[in-house]
């Protein structure tokens, strides 16, 4: 199968910032992303989990974005502008994708 180089960006961010992050991604020309629910975690600001929670504060989501390497910088800048002030982590891995025309 013909595979194409790409980057897999994984942004774990406060759930309340989801819309702002995805808006920023769209503005940065990202062609797609996927949001995974997160059920708990731990970091410098302590441990948390979503059990029994009603409000959107105190929860995170994971946004996964597959992107062509040349578009990475724009994406990271857009993401960082949103994440900067907020709780969250950003990681980027090398990956390969099928159907490169989609990215």
């Amino acid at each position: 199968m013909k595979m194409h180089e790409a980057k897999r960006v994984e942004i774990i961010i406060e759930a309340v910032m989801e819309r702002q992050l995805t808006n920023a991604l769209n503005d940065a020309g990202v062609t797609g992303y996927t949001v995974l629910p997160v059920s708990g975690g731990s970091g410098r600001s302590g441990q948390w989990n979503r059990e029994g929670q009603v409000g959107r504060a105190g929860g995170m989501v994971a946004v996964i974005c597959l992107i062509r390497p040349e578009r990475l910088d724009r994406l990271l800048e857009a993401a960082f502008a949103v994440v900067e002030q907020h709780i969250g982590v950003v990681s980027v891995s090398d990956t390969q994708v099928l159907r490169a025309e989609r990215f």
């Binding site: 309340v16 702002q20 600001s45 989990n49 059990e51 029994g52 409000g55 504060a57 002030q85 907020h86």
Partner: protein, 326 residues
């Protein structure tokens, strides 16, 4: 005094309070008892829909009250004003940063709908009627405090944000406000007939659902308290108990000035005394990301909420009865 104790005692042995206590205890001993997030949200959707609808149907039944608009305006004013009081009180009692104090202040200017619901349930259990429109007042008080909190944070140099579009949406179109007001409108429009149609869903099982919801809130509060070592200093805890008294006092004054019924006065006291744990925390995360969310939430859910639920509500009822008369 005997009276308070008797009232508080009677209040304490209700299924509603004991359910909360059960949740709290289970979390503190680290049981794995827990509610799925979806169920907790489902219960809260039910409660908001039911309380809103019943409030609206109440307004429909008793006619549009001349004091409706005045009460709404007073509610908004209280919500705008209380954060300043809270900010000053918290800074006086504890060493808390400006941003943190502003965030906490926003929570205390706003309201806790489940405290409101618990008080309504207690009132109706004792046959004390209250104005149906108090639900609309509750909804109106949810958001204004956020603006005061932001102003406090910015004036003191603690915040860098302007109020952007996302934040305005968070403030004005927050799901709980929309559902509460929407259900209120539906109750008002469809009136007694509408209520009769869905009574066996929103009235009869209501208290039981409230028990389960409070059980869940006890679990969440207990988990919060367990993880709050270092956050809750004595000064902070003192604030969590004094501030509701201040809020209730202002609510009492406003209620008397408005000429509300005894039940209405109690509910306005409860609104003043209670602190948000759903709408404001989310807005504060958007607007004041540097504020420590654990502080506000533990205070509001772990200190003030149980205080109001157990001691506060019967106390406010006593005071209101003493002042506003039977």
């Amino acid at each position: 005094m005997d009276n308070i104790l008797a009232l508080a005692g009677a209040n304490l042995v209700s299924p509603i309070i004991l359910s909360f206590v059960l949740g709290l205890a289970a979390a503190l001993v680290r049981s794995d008892l827990s509610f799925p997030e979806a169920i907790a949200k489902g219960l809260s959707l039910y409660l908001l829909f039911a309380i809103g609808f019943k409030g609206g149907a109440g307004v429909a039944a008793h006619g549009v009250d001349a004091r409706l608009v005045a009460a709404l305006v007073s509610g908004v004013a209280l919500s705008l004003l209380l954060p300043f009081v809270a900010f000053a009180l918290l800074r006086a009692l504890a060493r808390v940063s400006v941003v943190d104090a502003a965030a906490v202040a926003g929570h205390y200017g706003s309201i806790s709908i489940v405290t409101f619901v618990a008080a309504s349930t207690l009132l109706s259990g004792r046959g004390i009627p209250a104005e149906g429109f108090m639900v609309a007042v509750a909804a109106a008080m949810e958001a204004p405090a956020i603006l005061s909190a932001l102003w406090l944070a910015m004036r003191r140099g603690g915040g860098s944000e302007r109020v952007g579009t996302e934040l305005w949406r968070e403030i004005l179109l927050n799901g709980s406000i929309v559902l509460l007001l929407g259900a209120f409108a539906i109750g008002w429009i469809t009136g007694e007939k509408g209520l009769a149609e869905i009574e066996s869903f929103i009235v009869e099982p209501f208290k039981g659902v409230l028990c389960l919801f409070l059980l869940d809130m006890g679990l969440v509060a207990g988990r919060g308290l367990r993880g709050s070592r270092g956050v809750l200093s004595p000064g902070v805890v003192a604030f969590g108990i004094l501030m509701p008294l201040v809020g209730a006092a202002l609510g009492l004054a406003a209620g008397l000035a408005l000429g509300l019924s005894l039940g209405g006065v109690v509910l306005l006291m409860v609104l003043g005394a209670s602190a948000s744990y759903i709408a404001v925390p989310a807005a504060m995360r958007v607007a004041l990301p540097k504020a420590n969310p654990a502080l506000s939430l533990t205070l509001s859910l772990g200190v003030t909420f149980p205080f109001n639920l157990t001691i506060g509500i019967p106390l406010y009822m006593m005071l209101a009865t003493a002042v506003a008369g039977s």
